[in-house]
């Protein structure tokens, strides 16, 4: 049996990859996907911990998180679409109408 800590470490690595993606990628869609990766990394933790504690809490939480993520996708893509229609770009660097 794989120890819980392995899952947690994998989850931490996935989360970090997600954060790095948010910081470095220029395409809004990919940044958004990186955020989804972060959420799923956390989901992995929840499932692993649920198994570790032997209770269902963690697994149920994952369903909630997934539905929240789905809702975020719906709104997020709509907003990205709105921005794309206005500015014809999905590059975050070009979104700086407001600064300082």
């Amino acid at each position: 049996m794989v120890p819980t800590s392995y899952h947690l470490i994998l989850s931490g690595i996935l989360f970090t990859i997600g954060v790095t993606g948010v910081l470095l990628r220029r395409n809004i869609i990919i940044i958004f996907m990186s955020i989804e990766l972060m959420l799923n990394a956390v989901n992995l933790s929840f499932v692993a911990l649920a198994r570790h504690f032997g209770n269902m809490d963690g697994q149920i939480i994952v369903f909630f998180v997934m539905s929240v993520a789905a809702a975020e996708v719906a709104v997020g893509l709509a907003i990205i679409l709105l921005v794309f229609r206005g500015r014809e770009t999905v590059n975050v660097d070009e979104l700086n109408l407001m600064r300082w």
């Binding site: 954060v19 910081l23 979104l95 700086n96 109408l97 300082w100």
Partner: protein
């Protein structure tokens, strides 16, 4: 010196003190909401009327004041925070009793005078709203039973002062004068607030969470001397800001940009004495710290002399009076600093009488001269404005310390204490005495140049010169009478339950030299400005003197270049620093960080792209840095 314990004072509970504050407040509300509808005629009656009602209640309280005791009016509980209980409570004791009599009395006269002075101004409703609001705040300041309530009044008077200086808003110079007053007062406020919290905390460390004056007085002795000194000095910063002492005096002369009755009420008679009141109120703390007292005394004495020298050469009638106010406030601080609190407060009262008189007289002159303020273009007003002339003369004699007038008693009392009190020294006395001579000189210079000699104004203006209407001259007459007899109001005896009763015995030389110097100053002014025609280049003693000491003259004329010094030493570096923070920190450091990180990780990253601001990823980076620091703190 032993002061009677504050808690032992006979306290009588009454419930009418609140009306002293409420009537002026009612005036504010009326002016703001109904004034525009009812117009000038009604406002002219309501505003001074409310102050008069406040005066009546103040008088009742003053008369009812039990011998050596106090009246307290607890209105309602205000701020309860844990062990700290602060009530809206008003207290009249000999100190605040004296103050409310001056504020409502002189305030009422100035309100009446304003009716005449503002007769041709369209914005009279707003003017009276501010003036009433100021009176409300000032009364709250002196009546408050705890520091927090005092602070409410403190901020209130500052705000009104600021609004009234900028009253004629269209003038850029006036708006910037308001700004200067604001910034300087903010520095003072910072000192006040820090003092307040430090006092609160250090008493709390001994288990006493309180802000009430009587409780602080009862427990002040538990504090270590260094703490007391620090608290006193912080409060003194606040007092110096409000009461225009070195180095925070710079706003007061500029504040003369406001309407003249405002200068009389706020910048001469009442608000500027708030700092004196604060220290007189907290005397039990100051008496515990030799250092703090010494600082107060030295700053006061130096300011008294310093401002007097600047006043010697000013040619704007209001500027002379402004510097004279700064100088007189210095005397009051000198009195406080040598432990002669009663003498200081005595001088607050007499000064309120004669300085309000002088300012209102100056206002009358300016009014009669079609808004001319330059004394070089005046002269010979003696015959055209007889009432103003007569009352102004009394004011000048009073401030010069002419024997048996009000200023003679209070100023001499301060100087005697400066010499003879355990906290005093001959040097302080000497500085004050020199200042007294200068005071007499510059006041009579002003007086002779304005009222005697030939008229030097344009013929057109000269044609219009007229005495002010009765509504303006009556307050002058009343104030002149007060300036004559104010010295016989036995304020020091009245205050003795608070400050003890003692009178230093000094030699006749010490006692009479200030008066003699004062008389000498008057004589010198007569010699230079009456016997020689004033302000004619190449002729007369004054002109010769100014050419002989051209450097000194320039230095005084430019007010020791203090404004320029502050500009160069404080304002410009501050602006530069702010600019640096904004430009360099935000654009170079933050963006550079992004830039650098990206360059390391993503070698092909275009530099320019990362220089852009308003970038989501810059924000995410800042976010991550914060997260890393916090997690790092927990992990290691």
């Amino acid at each position: 010196m032993e002061h009677p314990h504050a808690a032992e004072v006979a306290v009588q509970t009454v419930s009418y003190l609140r009306y002293i504050v409420l009537f002026p407040l009612l005036g504010v509300v009326f002016n703001l909401f109904l004034g525009p509808r009812y117009g000038r005629q009604v406002v002219n009656w309501v505003s001074p009327g409310m102050i008069f009602l406040a005066f009546c209640f103040a008088f009742a309280a003053f008369v009812q004041l039990p011998d050596g005791g106090a009246l307290v009016d607890s209105v309602y509980p205000w701020i309860y925070s844990g062990a700290l209980h602060v009530d809206i409570a008003l207290r009249v004791d000999p100190l605040s009793g004296t103050m409310i009599m001056v504020i409502t009395g002189v305030g009422f006269l100035i309100h009446v005078y304003s009716v005449g002075y503002m007769a041709h101004d369209d914005d009279v409703v707003r003017y009276f709203a501010y003036l009433n609001l100021f009176t409300t705040a000032m009364l709250l300041l002196v009546l408050g039973d705890n520091i927090l309530l005092l602070f409410v009044g403190w901020e209130g008077v500052g705000l009104c002062s600021y609004l009234l200086i900028g009253f004629w808003y269209t003038d850029d110079e006036k708006a910037s004068a308001g700004k200067k007053a604001f910034i300087v007062n903010r520095i003072g406020d910072a000192g006040f607030l820090l003092g307040l919290f430090l006092l609160f905390w250090s008493l709390g460390a001994h288990g006493v969470w309180t802000l009430s004056f009587s409780e602080i007085a009862a427990h002040a002795s538990v504090l270590p001397v260094t703490t007391v000194t620090l608290i006193c000095l912080l409060f003194f910063v606040g007092a110096a800001g409000k009461s225009a002492q070195i180095p925070l005096y710079v706003w007061l002369p500029d504040a003369m940009a406001g309407p003249t009755p405002v200068s009389a009420l706020i910048h001469a008679a009442t608000m500027v004495t708030a700092g004196i009141y604060l220290i007189a109120r907290m005397h039990f703390l100051y008496s515990l710290s030799q250092t703090a007292l010494a600082v107060v005394a030295v700053v006061g004495a130096v300011t008294a002399l310093f401002a007097a020298t600047i006043a010697l050469v000013q040619t704007d009638i209001k500027k002379v009076l402004a510097y004279s106010t700064v100088s007189q406030l210095g005397y009051m601080f000198l009195g406080l600093g040598v432990g002669a609190y009663a003498a200081g407060v005595f001088h607050v009262m007499t000064h309120a009488f004669f300085k309000a008189l002088l300012f209102l007289g100056a206002g009358s002159v300016i009014h009669g001269m079609s808004e001319e303020q330059d004394i070089r273009k005046m002269g010979g007003l003696r015959s055209k404005m007889p009432t103003t002339y007569g009352t102004f003369a009394i004011g000048c004699l009073a401030i010069a310390g002419f024997p048996l007038l009000s200023g003679f008693f209070s100023k001499d009392l301060i100087l005697e204490h400066a010499f003879g009190s355990p906290h005093g020294s001959p040097l302080l006395w000497l500085i004050g005495t020199l200042g007294a001579g200068l005071t007499a000189f510059y006041m009579f210079r002003l007086f002779f140049v304005t009222f005697w000699g030939e008229n030097r104004s344009d013929p057109e203006i000269a044609h219009h010169i007229h005495e002010s209407p009765q509504v303006m001259t009556m307050p002058l007459v009343v104030l002149a009478i007060l300036s004559l007899i104010g010295g016989y109001f036995t304020v020091p005896e009245l205050l003795s339950p608070l400050y003890g009763h003692e009178h230093p015995h000094v030699s006749p030389l010490v006692k009479y030299l200030p008066t003699l110097l004062g008389l000498g100053g008057i004589g010198l002014a007569y010699r230079l400005y009456v016997q020689d025609p004033p302000f004619v280049p190449g002729r007369g003693g004054a002109d010769r003197l100014s050419r002989q000491f051209a450097g000194l003259h320039q230095l005084l004329l430019n007010k020791y270049y203090v404004d320029e010094l502050y500009e160069a030493a404080i304002v410009r570096p501050l602006l530069a620093a702010s600019d640096w923070l904004w430009k360099v920190w935000d654009t170079v450091v933050i963006d550079g960080l992004v830039n650098g990180t990206a360059q390391v990780i993503q070698a092909n990253g275009s530099v320019l792209r990362f220089w852009q601001t308003g970038n989501v990823q810059t924000y995410a980076l800042s976010f991550c840095c914060g997260a890393i620091v916090i997690l790092g703190y927990y992990l290691w």
